[in-house]
């Protein structure tokens, strides 16, 4: 077996692995950012879950505590 003859197949395999892993990492990273932006946007508009206080409420509470 000549390593040089098969180098193209080896390089193509590693390039595919980098592309697939890169795509997965990009997917989870970009998706995380998108969800954070959407949540922040909803909180800014005052839409919050009943179990967690809104960002603005939290800020007011923190300000009260400091005072």
């Amino acid at each position: 077996m000549n390593a040089v003859n098969h180098m193209g197949f080896i390089v193509a395999s590693y390039a595919t692995a980098i592309a697939v892993v890169g795509a997965l990492v990009a997917w989870v990273t970009l998706d995380y950012r998108a969800q954070r932006v959407r949540l922040a946007d909803l909180e800014m508009r005052g839409v919050t879950r009943r179990s967690t206080p809104a960002q603005s409420e939290r800020t007011i509470e923190q300000a009260k505590e400091k005072a």
């Binding site: 077996m1 000549n2 390593a3 003859n5 098969h6 180098m7 197949f9 080896i10 193509a12 395999s13 590693y14 595919t16 692995a17 697939v20 892993v21 795509a23 997965l24 990492v25 997917w27 989870v28 990273t29 998706d31 995380y32 969800q35 954070r36 959407r38 949540l39 909803l42 508009r45 839409v47 919050t48 879950r49």
Partner: protein, 242 residues
């Protein structure tokens, strides 16, 4: 923190936020070491330099199956205990498992051309692996088609359990049928047939890929929990407006 505490999505998010950076760092370190060892490994006496493709192909194959196994266990959590985190775990695992299965098929093809003289044959191992990829695509399509997450979860859980029958078929296909694909050589009765100079780098690469799988899975689960929160808030907003 007890494992039972992680069943709460808010606590799970805290755990994921703390764990993901450490797991990512560990994954990079193990990958760097694994790739170094894989490149230093000698050529195989039969395969020559193409054995280096095996350091990608074998872990991808294992993780493609692990992904579906994880989805099957999560499916029980959905159908029996109706646990919301089980749905989240199953949904998050599907694209990752599909990606590893695709990588397994592509690297296998690229290895097959110089070794077998063909990119593809319809032998039992290759075909059952292709079926696994199609099952993954089916379950992803199901999640995307059904809008209500709990209904989608039940449908996906049933498909996951039915599809789990493909896992033993993949594993034992090389024993049950005459295949061009080689028989088991790592985990087999009587020990591995692979020399330690190749087996050790293979295990290090498998550990690196497994760490990558769980890091990505944890991150994808975190995203899915946030996505459901966004959905709930939008529904609340829509209800308030109407």
């Amino acid at each position: 923190m007890a494992i039972a505490d992680l069943a709460n999505p808010t606590r799970f998010l805290k755990f994921a936020n703390r764990t993901i950076p450490w797991l990512s760092g560990l994954t990079v370190i193990v990958f760097a070491y694994g790739i170094d060892q894989a490149m230093l490994a000698p050529d195989d006496y039969q395969q020559g330099a193409t054995v280096k493709i095996m350091f990608l192909h074998v872990p991808s194959a294992w993780l493609g199956m692990l992904g579906w196994g994880l989805m099957s266990v999560a499916a029980l959590g959905t159908l029996v205990w109706r646990h919301p985190l089980a749905d989240v775990a199953a949904k998050a695992a599907a694209p990752i498992g599909a990606a590893f299965t695709l990588l397994c098929l592509v690297t296998g093809s690229l290895w097959g051309r110089p070794e077998w003289g063909t990119y593809w044959v319809w032998d039992a191992r290759l075909t059952s692996e292709l079926v696994l990829l199609l099952l993954y695509l089916g379950v992803i399509a199901l999640w995307r088609t059904v809008e209500d997450p709990s209904r989608a979860a039940r449908a996906a859980a049933i498909l996951s359990l039915v599809g789990a029958i493909d896992l033993p078929i993949i594993k034992f296909s090389v024993d049950w049928w005459n295949t061009l694909h080689q028989g088991s050589s790592v985990f087999r009765v009587g020990g591995s047939t692979i020399d330690s100079s190749i087996l050790i780098p293979l295990f290090i690469m498998a550990a690196a890929f497994t760490l990558l799988f769980f890091t990505l899975h944890l991150a994808a689960m975190r995203n899915e929990i946030l996505r459901r929160r966004v959905r709930t808030l939008r529904l609340m907003q829509a209800t308030a407006v109407s």
